[in-house]
Amino acid sequence: MIDAFFSGFGMAMRVDTFLMVSVGLFSGMLIGALPGFTTLMAMAILLPVSFFMDPLVGIPFLLGIYKGGIFGGSIPAILISMPGTGAAIATTFDGYKLTQKGQSRKALDMALFSSIFGDTSSDIFTLMMIFPIALVVMQFGPPELAAILFLSLVIIAATSGRNPLKGLLMMGIGLWFSLIGTDPIGGVERFTFGLFELKSGIPLLPMLIGVFALPEIVSVFGDRSSHLRAATKILGERLKFSEFRRCFRTICRSTLIGTGIGVVPGLGQVVAAMMGYTAAKNASKTPEKFGTGELEGVAAAESANNAVNGPTMVPLLTLGIPGDNVTAILLGAFIAQGLRPGPDLFENQADMVFAILIVMVLANVLFLIIGYLSIPFFARIVTIKSSLLIPMVIMFAVAGSYVFRSDVFDILMLAFFGIFGVMARAAKFDVMPMVMGFILGEPLEYAFGQTMAMADGNLLAFALTERQGMLAIVIATPLCGYALWRRMNKTLKPSTADQFS
């Protein structure tokens, strides 16, 4: 193993490898930053390019796109409050507020550093613990996933804000939105009103752009002394080391949470970012600052969603099973190169695997340099005059919604969710629980349906005899939710806490 590690290290030290990783990182970042273009699309389109490259050039190239793309998604989230993926939602909360304060550069720097820290630590952890992780992954099936998703929803509802009833109502609306379309298991149409366009459900991206970005645009028109105008020409300072150090505990905590969530198949970056953010808010002495432009909030979300990536590679590398679409594309790239991920890969081609994993870690160093140098270039966007910037943001919103599925119907959806977002803001309802309910509703329903199918209808007997783990999580959920809710209320607003308890 040690021999293979060192020969892998030697194999990885190639100029063309690092050159293509850099190309991948930069193009991934650009594509990720364009709303509507996803990392997944970029990887799928550029996959054939890797077929014609050497394995140690082609695969790192794709990995570069992947890493760059995830960070790229946080750029519009911070600058124009437009999360390109679910994973960037939690970054929007504080990132955009920082931009409004004229600190966009600081926010982007923090996103970059915490992303890279989270990613690197989880990669190294995965590299060292790959076989134990593979065993743990096998302990999680649909029943456990359903229980953990339910727990996540309860945590989000309990900690969402000052008024838990409003949060619960919004979450209920989000869950209802997730039901619209074809039932994922039985194939029955629900709430589609006979519209074919609604059969495949509500698309995520128009919803995200609609509820997060459009209300910001509207608020510029409503408010003459607007923040967007005020921010004009302020590029802001770079991140100071002392600020990074202040957030370091949070980054470490989020990295741990993200890595843990990455081990559970099917949870993913969205849950990781939300849980990292919630945990940081909960641990903070000043939770009321979260959501008003707190650097720690950006750090918490970004380190958590990147830390997911290491463990999600484990089923691919140890068993050759892709857990999601990104790993499915990587599997295709591996196979086309004559590398067969699976139990034998470490025995037959260990040096190659180590070489790829080493490039993965070293790519982070490159990314640090490339990201740091290009942030000023992105941060300039907010210095554009608002008479130019706002039409541009609207263009990105519409184009981003359309390009995701190339469906004109999605622009109607964008308008609908834009109005929804504006109304929710006017009534002082937070849209976050709605979006989380929508995102987590579908996998929760699916996992619950799978559990019912496995249990053959007899859920209680199934839980007692086969799935004590699921049972334990379900029992712990209300206790956990109640404890968090109490704590949140104490620190946020002591007076209302008494009212509800």
Partner: protein, 325 residues
């Protein structure tokens, strides 16, 4: 200065997105058809076997049609979204569908579709097909398919079969086996073949199905065992075929086919069919497909049309049987 920097950055990003779309664009030549890139709609998600297969042949076929073929993924509503998109497109040969037999012919018996597969589409070519294999875990008590079927007969609904979604590529063969052997399996859905395989390995499921191209690594290490494979011929020397088990016919094959909207001018259809025929002989294509572990079993559009009509009938009775209708 600053402003021009912004304009540059916007232009750069626009150029990049255009570059992506045109990345596979070949040289434009003055032929009548095709005179612009052809869009290939896949009604399935990224990273699946259709996506991978399409990435291979769309990167080779431009030299035979002198135009790019651009992959557009339109997943949703069990494949109906992308299919409908092509069904309603102009029949000018610039929008094609890359699908498989279950989406193509089975959906119509399960749901009300806004299109009629046989009346709205015509086959350009079958790219290849994948025979399904019945898979159990390496330490499973079931040593043969007969033992497995016997266990399912004895305990109806107790043997858990992990599949990749209702009426999908693993569900339909399982349903066909249930119909042929008069057994009752507990069909548990997963989000794709990968998660279904993971369920088998973690012990959540007793059996699943898989395509040989995705199984090799797990087979060699003994993590899984194959009990039977689809078709008349054996794929593995010591594993019986479906025919030997008394399940004959077009059962357990996923045909990957390129369809065009019906009404496409005959000369354009001929151009496309000829291109796919030539593609079949292409060395790069063959090399890339064999690396993916896929076969290159081309079938001409005319031949496949006959198969489609048979599938429509077979799936109709299958759905009636399974849903008890």
């Amino acid at each position: 200065m600053i402003k021009s920097g912004i304009v540059k950055s916007v232009l750069l990003s626009a150029a990049l997105s255009l570059g992506l779309a045109g990345a596979m664009a070949g040289a434009v030549q003055a032929a009548d058809y095709p005179e612009k890139p052809i869009t290939l709609v896949i009604p399935l998600g990224a990273g699946g076997s259709h996506d991978l297969n399409a990435r291979v042949f769309t990167s080779v076929i431009p030299q035979y049609i002198n135009q790019a073929m651009i992959v557009q993924l339109s997943p949703g509503a069990s494949g109906q979204k992308g299919t409908n998109e092509v069904a309603t497109a102009d029949a000018d040969g610039y929008k094609l569908l890359f699908t498989h037999n279950y989406i193509d012919q089975l959906q119509q018996h399960v749901e009300n579709l806004p299109y009629d597969p046989l009346a709205d589409f015509v086959t350009v070519a079958r790219i290849n097909f994948a025979p399904i294999a019945i898979v159990v875990k390496g330490d499973s008590p079931y040593k043969s398919a007969e033992e497995l079927f016997a266990a399912a007969k004895e305990n109806p609904g107790k043997v858990r079969m992990a599949h990749s979604g209702n009426w999908g590529a693993l569900f339909v063969p399982a349903a066909q086996l249930m119909q042929a052997n008069e057994i009752d399996l507990n069909l548990v859905p997963y989000k794709g073949g990968g998660p279904a395989m993971q369920a088998l390995l973690s012990g959540d499921a007793d059996m699943t199905m898989g395509f040989p191209s995705t199984l090799s690594a797990l087979l060699d290490s003994g993590e899984v065992r194959v009990l039977a494979t689809a078709g008349d011929k054996r794929i593995y020397p010591d594993v019986p075929s479906f025919s030997e088990l008394g399940v004959g016919g077009d059962v357990g094959f996923m045909h990957r086919v390129v369809l065009a909207p019906k009404g496409i001018p005959q000369d354009r259809l001929d151009v496309l069919r000829a291109a796919f025929l030539k593609l079949n002989e292409d060395k790069t294509y063959q090399r890339l497909m064999s690396r993916l572990g896929e076969n290159i079993d081309y079938m001409s559009g005319d031949d496949y049309e006959k198969l489609r009509a048979d599938q429509a009938e077979a799936y109709k009775s299958l759905v009636a049987k399974i849903t008890g209708g």
